[in-house]
Symmetry: C2
């Protein structure tokens, strides 16, 4: 009875029938089960999958597995704000497309996606659309004619250990892996009943205050978006300025080591995230920032949980300029070898990690005449993203990259 | 840090290294991931899987999937106590055996399996053994040279939503499905940290009192095992009398509808389980009772949680005889048509569910002379198990079954 009541409450919040909704052990497992089941159910239609380039890693991992098993995948690109173009989904649809996936909003930069339009495009082609609604479900139901939807309770302030998978009646679906009779055969194992009940109750509670709290958090994130570039030089605020979920704001700071900045902010009592390469175990920058083509160095993602007091934001804005300045100062000493070679200045930043290559480029650009070239040698994957991003921010020309004896040479022409 | 500490505590309780242990979202998911990963890791050795016939459904579902995908499966049978013979595992091992699975103890009847001996047999053949330790891990580590081990926190009194998967170093393992960097790539999705911390803490707490509490619960279950046949006529207590985990006791009552008995006991405040066909949605009796060849009708499984007071057991034994008598009385009216046909009495129990076929057989057996035959027509799957079991209990001869115009004819010869 508790499970039925939780399912009814959650289904109402999602905007589906209770028998279309299964509880899973996490949002990630909802995504994995949803994509695998929809692809298998549509096997006869074909094995082509469409995802956006900025999906959550759970969607991208599912796409990688699908490719490894012989399927094909189109990754739809985004613009500098992180938004997909519905026309790009229309173009990506092929006769053998089994499934398309699109997030309702991006988890790193907060940009909302045009889900309704993409759902319409997919519906016209007879292709189901799976919407990863993890970032937005707490704020309201996902509009548009979607076929499958996934979400995660801890994202709306509910407990860990509960995900949602909605599969509309009529959508072909064949659950993969061992299943049992639970959750319509879509999520095996005994249901985590206490957590499921708490998840449904918290979703209802969050929704009751969503409109008011959204307005309040929007005002706070807008303040951060506006004030950070005024308080800190050489900052790029990323994500769509208008079409965004409340409570997430992301910016990147030139000449800053993301990990060092996180530590500075942590000492001041602020726990933020980063998509910088130097903060991840893989040493590659966030795939989201990469797909957007924006700066990744010194990247900071601030998430404001429900009920965040205004004073916290004020104090964050007080602390940030000093934290950035302190990190920049530590990185100020020359760390790369600079040589003049034929007609170009060569910055040898081999073996140096982000943000050193960009810092050294910025230091020497004034040393070449206008029209002259700086060649940055780097073996850090982040340089491929951050050197072009720096050029765009600084109004210099990014000429391109070419292979070098070691690493890659990035060519920048001084134009101002 | 919390996750590391929980992993260390749980690994110590399991008897493995912390880096061999992953937390999953449930015991079922640990089993599914463990079997799929071990089979894939040993793909070169072959595609043969060995399981016992009385494993948990999560193991059997994994075996079914493996068969559907082209693998082969041997299901090792058990004796009437529910125990496997290590020699049967030795016989089942083939040159292409990739993996063997065996539970540490059975979840329905409490029988402990000879895991150490089976592990030795498997080790000698170079085949990894996966032990499903869900029933026993709270009581102590699993001995023997196992390769993989799974467990479930709620089984030791911990929270829902946490399973354990241990994979010994050196065991070939290739995680299946989409994975991420969490839990050694064996359990994707953000860890359910609060539940994991609670799981590890509760395992430590349970273990601290395990020896004392095991002795106490053993005494209580032994009392139930001894007293029930004295208090209730026509009862079969099942499971090994000696080699058993504390806290589980199972018996079957002839001429009783399992579902009706559960309702009677529920009204008296006792929540018990049943492996009778009439209590399951599939209308087939428990695969465990079936594999043991014991009576399934009127089956009752009593689980005593940690700390169960002695008074509860006393009151249960007070209430049970009346509950069984009440159900038997309601079923007393003749429900099947009886005709004399040639040399046999025919009981037409077509369309009647367990326990009616056995009740009607018992009613008429006295009406045929010694040496005479009763032919029971039934289309209830449970009759295949319960009619032979009744013959064994009553000292009558079960001749065999043969197809009938509708359903199956079960032949019983009166010998006493």
């Amino acid at each position: 009875m508790l499970l039925d009541a939780a399912r009814e409450a959650a289904a109402e919040a999602v905007g589906c029938r209770p028998d279309e909704l299964s509880f899973t052990a996490s949002g990630t497992q909802a995504v994995h089960a949803g994509i695998a089941g929809a692809l298998a159910g549509r096997r006869r239609a074909g094995r082509h999958l469409i995802v956006s380039a900025v999906e959550h890693s759970s969607v991208l991992h599912s796409a990688e597995i699908h490719e490894r098993e012989g399927g094909s995948v189109t990754r739809v690109s985004v613009d500098r704000s992180g938004t997909v173009d519905p026309a790009a989904y229309a173009e990506a649809l092929l006769p053998d497309t089994a499934l398309a996936c699109l997030q309702s909003a991006n988890h790193e930069v907060g940009t909302e996606q045009p889900v309704g339009e993409v759902a319409g495009v997919c519906r016209a082609a007879g292709v189901p659309l799976l919407v990863d609604a993890a970032q937005s479900l707490g704020w309201g139901p996902v509009g548009g004619d979607w076929s499958l939807l996934t979400a995660s309770a801890h994202k709306w302030g509910g407990p860990s250990g509960v995900g949602l998978l909605a599969v509309r009646k009529g959508v072909r679906f064949a659950a993969q892996g061992p299943v049992d009779e639970r959750e319509s055969g879509r999520a095996p194992g005994f249901e985590n009943l206490p957590a499921i009940v708490a998840a449904a109750a918290s979703l209802r509670a969050v929704r009751a205050e969503a409109a008011q709290e959204a307005a309040r958090l929007r005002e706070l994130t807008e303040r951060i978006r506006a004030r950070v570039p005024e308080l800190v030089p050489d900052v790029e605020v990323v994500g769509d300025p208008e079409r965004r979920v409340p409570g997430i704001v992301t910016f990147s700071c030139l000449y800053v080591d993301g990990e060092a900045l996180l530590h500075e902010l942590d000492r001041a009592g602020f726990s933020v995230s980063s998509g910088s390469s130097c903060t991840s175990s893989t040493l590659t920058p966030s795939h989201v920032l990469k797909a957007m083509g924006v700066l990744s160095e010194g990247n900071v993602r601030v998430s404001l949980p429900l009920g965040t007091p205004e004073e916290d934001v004020t104090r964050f804005l007080d602390v940030l300029p000093g934290a950035v300045a302190s990190v920049r100062e530590k990185l100020g000493a020359p760390a790369a070898r600079v040589v003049v070679q034929e007609d170009a200045l060569v910055v040898d930043a081999l073996g140096k990690r982000c943000p050193i290559p960009v810092i050294e480029l910025a230091k020497v650009i004034g040393d070449v005449p206008i029209g002259g070239t700086v060649r940055v040698l780097s073996d850090d994957e982040a340089a491929r993203l951050d050197i072009p991003a720096w050029c765009e921010m600084r109004g210099q020309e990014y000429v391109g990259e070419e292979p070098a004896d070691r690493g890659t040479a990035y060519l920048v022409r001084r134009v101002s």
